[in-house]
């Protein structure tokens, strides 16, 4: 793993995705433009080779949209995505296809991500067919069995003829992972891969994903709302709020020593299995709910909910990510005072 490009596999620069709401002809003509939804509004981060990078945020923070942008499932409004030294923001069909071989996705609901009419064999065969992987049925079958073995589905032959609904949630997520592995990708984007899975087997799936990552030298972009699994699973974490990263750093640093008031609030709110809190009303530093991405506050976008907000927070330009050393970044100009 000695690469000249500082080992960066994926670099996202000032990525933006603005959705123009669907308008009728009459609305367009009358000039009554509805507000643009700024789902992702200037996100930059880079993921190193062999790293697990966590993207954390509440619903409406833009984390899933960021994942889709990285997957090139949607086109960005502006910004760039550089993968393995190559700008892939705008690509022709062939290069997109090549990119798709290298970057794969695991979805939140493993069941919904498989066509219910496909057998596991067909589910697994699909990437091979799409990418015209050479080989006849027998060779394809061998590859499928190898991938199923990698995710520890034993014996793999037994699963080939089944339909997704005949499997448990954990087994489905293993299949979903195996499907992404069959093309030997370099990176996986995992969008809440364990949130639909029972607690008792959640750790099992995370283990499996970690093992696969170690064995195959993969890089993960792990998207979640759950700080606890992120702490356990990831190397670095970026916290998103309303389409922007507000804090980013090594997982322990960020959780044990949060700098941004939003991160602090998030951590505060997470319940922990410890006794003695039943009669305690939790002190929540922030109130209210995340504003609509169609109506982003001026200045620091968090100021409307920030307990430490000063007038300059809303009047001055939005703070950029600042480095406090040790790879820990934050976007709060008053972090020293709080």
């Amino acid at each position: 793993m000695s690469d000249k490009s500082n080992d960066v596999l994926l670099e996202v620069k000032d990525l933006k995705k603005h959705f123009a709401p669907h308008q009728s002809l009459a609305q367009t003509l009358s000039g009554k433009n509805r507000r643009v939804v700024k789902a992702v509004d200037g996100v930059s981060f880079s993921i190193h080779r062999g790293e697990i990078f966590g993207l954390i945020g509440e619903s409406g923070s833009g984390k899933t949209t960021t994942g889709k942008l990285v997957m090139k499932l949607i086109d960005p409004t502006s910004g760039s995505i550089v993968f393995n030294g190559e700008d892939v923001t705008v690509t022709d069909k062939e290069r997109t296809q090549a990119y798709r071989r290298q970057v794969q996705m695991i979805f939140q609901d493993p069941y919904a991500s498989m066509n219910p009419r496909f057998k596991i064999k067909d589910v697994m065969d699909e990437p091979l067919v799409i990418h015209k992987i050479e080989g006849d049925h027998v060779e394809h079958e061998k590859m499928i069995i190898k991938a199923l073995t990698e995710v520890k589905l034993n014996p793999p032959e037994e699963f080939m003829g089944r339909y997704p609904h005949m499997l448990s949630g954990g087994q489905r997520q293993r299949i979903a992972t195996a499907r992404t592995l069959i093309l030997n990708p370099m990176m996986l984007v995992a969008d809440e891969p364990v949130s639909m899975i029972d607690l008792s087997t959640r750790a099992e799936i995370l283990h499996m994903m970690k093992d696969v990552q170690r064995d195959l030298g993969l890089t993960y972009l792990y998207i979640t709302h759950d700080l606890s699994t992120a702490r356990y699973f990831t190397d670095r974490i970026a916290v998103m709020y309303l389409g922007r990263i507000v804090e980013m750093g090594r997982a322990e640093d960020l959780i044990d020593n949060p700098l941004h008031p939003y991160t602090k609030a998030l951590i505060e709110a997470v319940p922990e299995p410890r006794t003695g809190k039943v009669d305690v009303i939790k002190e929540l530093p922030i109130s209210g709910e995340i504003p609509s991405p169609a109506n982003i506050p001026s200045g620091c976008r968090f100021h409307t909910r920030c307990p430490y907000a000063k007038p300059e927070c809303s009047s001055e330009a939005e703070p950029e990510l600042m480095d406090v050393g040790n790879g820990h970044f934050h976007a709060c100009r008053r972090y020293k005072e709080i």
Partner: protein
């Protein structure tokens, strides 16, 4: 999907389907129709009806506007039914006129009250032929019918009809029996030859006719010496007794057998209905999926085109088309497809809009699947079962539309369709003349065929539509 899965899905469908009584009725009628189409020759009394429907000479031996044979059951006086005598007894006998002669004898058992309309002798001949024709009645009387002399034959038809060719000969028979007075009082041109042959002989046989029931022998006598020359041959000798009632469903004024027409029309009805509906529904389903999947401007334009087609009335345009071009079944089917494909579009589009948002579609995209793979591999298989129901439901429309066109006289003349039978009936004033057997059956068959597919379609719709059966 392997055969086993298809089998499993089908079994699942069948388990539901057989609970639908109307669906089973529809399926029963459809299977029956298919059997009839497959074994059509078995059911057709006139095997060559297809190509000869508008050929007048093909039907010349049948009676015109004869009611169905079974109407005898309800009539006080039984009418002779049409009979085909194909196996004459051939023997060589001594004939007073010819010496040794070959005699073809047809036995006909007459047990009716009203005589047949005609007796027709038919054969194919070669070279020179000469023959005497006569009838020996149950009362022992012989009625001499006439002679046929033909030369230079080469497999040509020989046709001798009693009604026209034996008129004068039969008159001789009347003169031999009826009183002078009666003959003087009657108009010989008014006498029907068959009436005389099948009536008791007597002085007043012209005024008070009584049927003479029993076995009649129709004899064709040919001098045996003719056959010494091998060039002279007679083949396929047969006798047709043209009844006053005829066939399963009677005949029309052009002597055509309506039952044959209806059986031959069945395959066309099925063909028109199925081809139109299958093609138009497939086009519609695909159109709906594409419109939904691509979305945006494509969707807007496609929806607009769809709206235009929906708002165009089909029949007037079909009429103009058929009147402008030479009416052909292909043009009619093509035109119907142009109007029928819109049927499933709206529903399919809305369902496809839902499926499009499913995660597995997104997952397929993330894997790199192209749009056509997603449309054909992921979306179409889920929407197709629904379209089966749609296909069944649009069959009746196509059948009725073709019938309507034909009724207006714009059908394809090279096929037999039920609508055309109705058209002919209407032209001949069948309703005014009380020829109900010409109007009711084709109308009924159009209705039953429509109902069959409607039943099938409703049953399938109920099973396949409510849930998309994906989970």
């Amino acid at each position: 999907m392997s055969m086993k899965d298809v089998g499993y899905r089908f079994k699942e469908f069948w388990d539901d389907f057989r609970k639908e009584t109307s669906g089973l009725i529809g399926l029963g009628i459809l299977v029956l129709s298919l059997v009839v189409v497959l074994f059509e020759p078995v059911f057709l009394p006139f095997k060559d009806v297809d190509g000869n429907w508008r050929n007048i000479s093909y039907w010349q031996d049948s009676p015109p506007a004869a009611p169905p044979a079974w109407t005898n059951l309800f009539a006080a006086e039984k009418s002779a039914t049409t009979a085909y005598l194909n196996d004459p007894i051939v023997e060589d006998v001594d004939d007073p006129d010819f010496g040794l002669a070959r005699v073809y004898t047809f036995k006909y058992n007459y047990k009716y009250d009203k005589s047949p309309l005609d007796i027709i002798f038919r054969a194919k001949g070669d070279g020179m032929l000469f023959m005497n024709l006569s009838v020996i009645r149950p009362d022992g009387e012989t009625v001499y019918l006439g002679q046929v002399y033909e030369d230079g034959l080469a497999g040509d038809d020989i046709r001798f009809t009693v009604d026209t060719d034996a008129r004068s000969s039969v008159y001789e028979f009347i003169r031999a029996h009826a009183s002078e007075e009666a003959i003087a009082n009657s108009d010989s041109s008014n006498v029907k030859a068959t009436d005389i042959i099948f009536a008791k002989a007597g002085a007043d046989m012209l005024s008070a006719r009584e049927p003479l029931k029993g076995e009649y022998l129709y004899k064709v006598t040919i001098p045996a010496s003719l056959f010494e020359d091998e060039a002279n041959r007679i083949d396929e000798a047969k006798l047709i007794v043209t009844g006053r009632v005829s066939g399963v469903l009677g005949t029309d004024t052009s002597k055509r057998d309506i039952y044959s027409g209806i059986i031959a029309g069945l395959k066309w009805a099925l063909f028109i209905g199925l081809v139109t509906s299958v093609i138009s529904v497939l086009v519609g389903v695909l159109y709906g999926i594409i419109s939904a999947y691509f979305g945006g401007t494509t969707d807007t334009i496609m929806s607009f085109i769809f709206e235009v087609f929906v708002s165009m009335p089909m029949l007037p345009i079909l009429i103009v088309l058929s009147a402008t071009f030479k009416p052909s079944i292909w043009i009619i089917i093509g035109a119907m497809i142009v109007f029928y494909w819109v049927g499933p579009v709206k529903t399919v589009r809305s369902m496809a809009l839902q499926i499009k948002e499913e995660t597995y579609i997104e997952a397929a995209k993330a894997l790199g699947a192209g749009k056509w793979r997603i449309i054909f591999k992921h979306m179409a298989p889920i929407l197709l079962p629904y379209s089966f129901a749609n296909m069944a439901l649009s069959v009746p429309g196509a059948i009725v539309a073709e019938s309507s066109l034909s009724l207006l006289g714009l059908g394809d003349p090279s096929i037999i369709s039920w609508g055309q039978i109705l058209h002919d009936a209407q032209l001949s004033g069948a309703t005014l003349n009380g020829l109900w057997w010409w109007i009711v059956p084709p109308g009924l068959f159009i209705a039953v065929m429509g109902m069959t597919f409607a039943f099938l379609g409703f049953a399938m719709d109920k099973i396949l539509h409510p849930k998309l059966r994906t989970r």
